[in-house]
């Protein structure tokens, strides 16, 4: 058995059975090994940003990890930005990236680059397989690391893929016990949450499922505010979900939102920080003197911490958790607006939907309506690198084949990984893509103003506006084998959403606002 076969068997034995891929020649023996193991589901993306973003979406919704298959330094580089988003969201990913045979490296062939450097600049863990006998164990260790929520990268030299494994496959050990805060700190935090001006800011697995229930009970018991980050990696929303208050995006609004807060206990989340720095404004939004209690870091044991915190707070079965009520307004008629997209989605999404959000500026109009519709999971862009939405939707749909996925993206963002549409069609994934077409990087107009810069002139407009020519999203969809329709009225959107739900596989709606 060669190294490549041992690696594939290691992945399968460790319950990693999905591999998003864009291979090349240096990965041919791994491809051949995958080919003889049909239990592994190989999914081709036509650009590596789709590969890594899909693995991220898969991790967020499956609770498991997927493999990626990448082609040397450039293939890894193409996947870098969505690895960044994954890393910021604590999604674990196992990257298998091919490199030249070890003896070939000294020749600096055209595709050779500083692969270790580019991989190391975004991965938590990198191991270069320099010998075929170490491939299986490197793969097993990468899976173990990734299951801890980290980016793990195995550099697979071609000669190690084709060389004799000797050891045969390995099996990943369970991830290490995550770090847990001291109990006395938990006790102190529970006490502090009962005092006026206290808030509990939660992220990670504290935003859905059992974690959210615990957080809701703690808030009910202590009377603290219950907060979620604006860019939650995954959060349960809609009818019946635990009611978190989401921090705003805008720096001034966030400062206002947190005014009067004297303590924020952080579980699974970093201290709040403004997305960007602005001249003359502070970097952080909390009021002066507000204590920031980092009880549990993002890569610590969030669920355990919430359990302990609930115990310490004296939570019992009588707590009444504040939950989101359902309030879905009727569709209106007339020109489509962000709010109209919100009404349309609120009426359309079924219980159990997964919504991937990269609506950027239009989100302020859309989400207030959708947040109070049917119960669903929301995935957000966690690292600010645009182009997460469509790939994440692929991964979410693969992870949850029985749940309809809605990918709601600004046009500028969606263009970044537009090739993902093709994979959605090829795999017949049930994804409704809503492109919010405002024909520009609208946020940059706001940001230019926020920076105190003058009105955009020729060069700024040349870099902010995506018109002249207009993108035709229905044509772009068709080009990738995806059906689509353009709408510019609210009733038109409602109709299109119905068509989408009756369509097998992906369907794209260009929602012009």
């Amino acid at each position: 058995m060669n190294g490549a076969e041992a690696l594939v068997k290691t992945m399968l034995a460790s319950d990693v059975s999905v591999c998003f891929a864009n291979p090349g020649t240096s990965e041919m023996h791994f491809v051949a090994a995958l080919d003889t193991h049909p239990d592994m589901r190989c999914i081709l993306c036509l650009f590596e940003g789709g590969v890594t973003g899909a693995a991220d979406g898969y991790a967020r919704m499956s609770g498991n990890v997927a493999g990626t298959l990448l082609h040397l330094g450039p293939g890894f580089g193409n996947g870098w930005a969505n690895l960044h988003n994954a890393r910021k969201g604590h999604s674990g990913i196992v990257n298998i990236v091919g490199d030249h045979a070890g003896y070939h490296l000294k020749h600096d062939a055209p595709l050779q680059a500083d692969l270790d450097g580019v991989a190391g600049s975004i991965s938590h863990w990198v191991r270069r397989a320099t010998d075929s006998t170490m491939v299986a164990s490197a793969g097993a260790e990468a899976i173990r690391v990734a299951r801890g929520g980290e980016i793990a990268t195995v550099i697979l030299q071609a000669d190690c893929a084709w060389g004799d494994s000797q050891t045969g496959p390995a099996k990943a050990q369970p991830p290490a016990q995550k770090h847990r805060p001291d109990k006395d700190r938990v006790m102190a935090a529970a006490k502090a949450l009962s005092e006026p001006g206290a808030a509990l800011l939660v992220s990670g697995p504290g935003l859905y499922g059992e974690g959210a229930e615990l957080a809701g009970k703690i808030a009910a018991r202590t009377g603290c505010r219950l907060l979620a980050p604006f860019f939650a990696p995954r959060i349960a929303l809609g009818e019946g979900a635990v009611a978190f208050e989401s921090l705003p995006y805008n720096a001034d609004l966030t400062a206002e939102f947190l005014a009067g807060q004297t303590r924020i206990v952080l579980v699974g989340e970093d201290p709040p920080v403004n997305f960007f720095a602005y001249p003359g404004k502070p970097s952080t939004p909390e009021p002066a003197g507000c204590a920031l209690d980092r009880l549990c870091y993002g890569d610590w044991d969030v669920l355990w911490t919430l359990e302990m915190l609930a115990d310490a707070a004296g939570v019992d079965s009588s707590e009444t958790i504040a939950r989101i009520g359902r309030h879905v307004p009727d569709i209106e008629t007339g020109a489509l607006t962000a709010e109209g997209i919100g009404r349309g989605l609120a009426n359309a999404i079924p219980e159990g939907a997964i919504i991937v959000n990269e609506a950027v500026t239009a989100g302020a109009g859309i989400w207030p309506f959708v947040n109070v519709a049917a119960a669903h999971d929301r995935i957000n862009n966690t690292g600010g690198s645009i182009g997460q939405c469509l790939p994440n939707a692929l991964g979410a749909a693969v992870a949850c084949p029985d749940r309809p996925v809605f990918a709601v993206s600004g046009d500028g963002s969606a263009m970044y990984q537009v090739q993902s549409l093709w994979t959605a069609a090829r795999e017949e994934l049930d994804i409704t893509v809503v492109i919010v077409a405002n024909r520009g990087y609208q946020i940059l107009h706001f940001e230019l103003e926020a920076q105190g810069a003058p009105k955009p002139g020729r060069n700024a407009s040349a870099m902010f506006d995506i018109e002249n020519p207009l993108l035709d999203w229905v044509a772009l969809a068709a080009g990738h084998g995806v059906q689509g329709v353009q709408v510019d009225s609210e009733e038109g959107l409602a109709e299109a959403l119905k068509t989408a739900s009756n369509t097998k596989g992906p369907f794209l709606i260009e929602a012009v606002i």
Copy 2:
């Protein structure tokens, strides 16, 4: 004057007047500064691989350098792969990449990443502007470095962009004198080239213009073989061009091609190496005992070396350079083939055309016809990272507005930076895009076989074939605002090429083979 304004003025004062861009909030003050300097031409690409690939194409055809404007680590990551191609082709590029304000960095905001790491893994030179007074000088130094054929990256912290420059603009010094080989080595090489079995392998500026003339004279005088790399960064071809023999791509064919060679003198090129390693085959193609004389590395002074070598060889005005003759066969009729694309292009390209090649497997059929058509410049993919073609074509068209550009790309490759079509339309660039639609990563089928792997099964086919669904390139073009047509016959291609030449701005032809 703030740092951003000082930087823009530095670029303009140093004759850098084109900036391919995809900015974000952290670059707003630089955007504002660009906005008040309309002499700077800002060109938006909808993905950063387009930005860096366009800067590469601009460098190859202008002899100057362009700026890029990138948004933090993820923006740089997205541009990484085409920086790799640029680096392998010795194209100089000045990257301006924004980062958070220095005082904001400690907060690890969502977009923060190891920017220094990812930039350092591909740039020759990186400087982080940590103070507004150093921005102008960092920019000037980056331009100087880039003019030496290197990737130079300025990390522009937002506070340094908006802070007071104090110094005002700087001006780039001329690039350092490039390294030159010792004259006695040149003398020895000239002598050796006259002996049987000798070849001169040239790249860089030795493949067009005065460099190619010198190389041709040296070959005529000494009787040596005159070789060019398969992936020449830029080479003059067609009627009247100096006749280089190009190395093949395939490892076995290259070994055959070089059989009997006793010495290869290298000017501007590394020793030949097989593109990939294959089990049981050597990494390099030259015969045992063949001397490799690295007279002039790729980043040394190629033109000076060729001049000295010509002198040493005793070249005089009587040399008869072997040149390419024109031989353009008639268009045939019937189903389109790679050879038919070659005949079509050979009939269509006018003198002075620029052809960007990423045809991959189909190239073997296409280029023999085009090589002997009208005089033109050819640009090739230098780093093996697919997705170079369309962005390079943008940059070449901006650099040479009076020369028609032909971008000939495989479908799989073109998908990598498909967003570049939009920029071509927006800037009304005269680019004829020929998509060679073989509906797959055809080369991988060959490579799987070459690796000795079995026939592709379900998983390999799932990763090699781009069909189910078929890409519709005419729709993709239309989606980006580009006119296009699909052809599947040779006469249809000929007609489409005529339409393209009569169309203002870009035109796409999906050539189904």
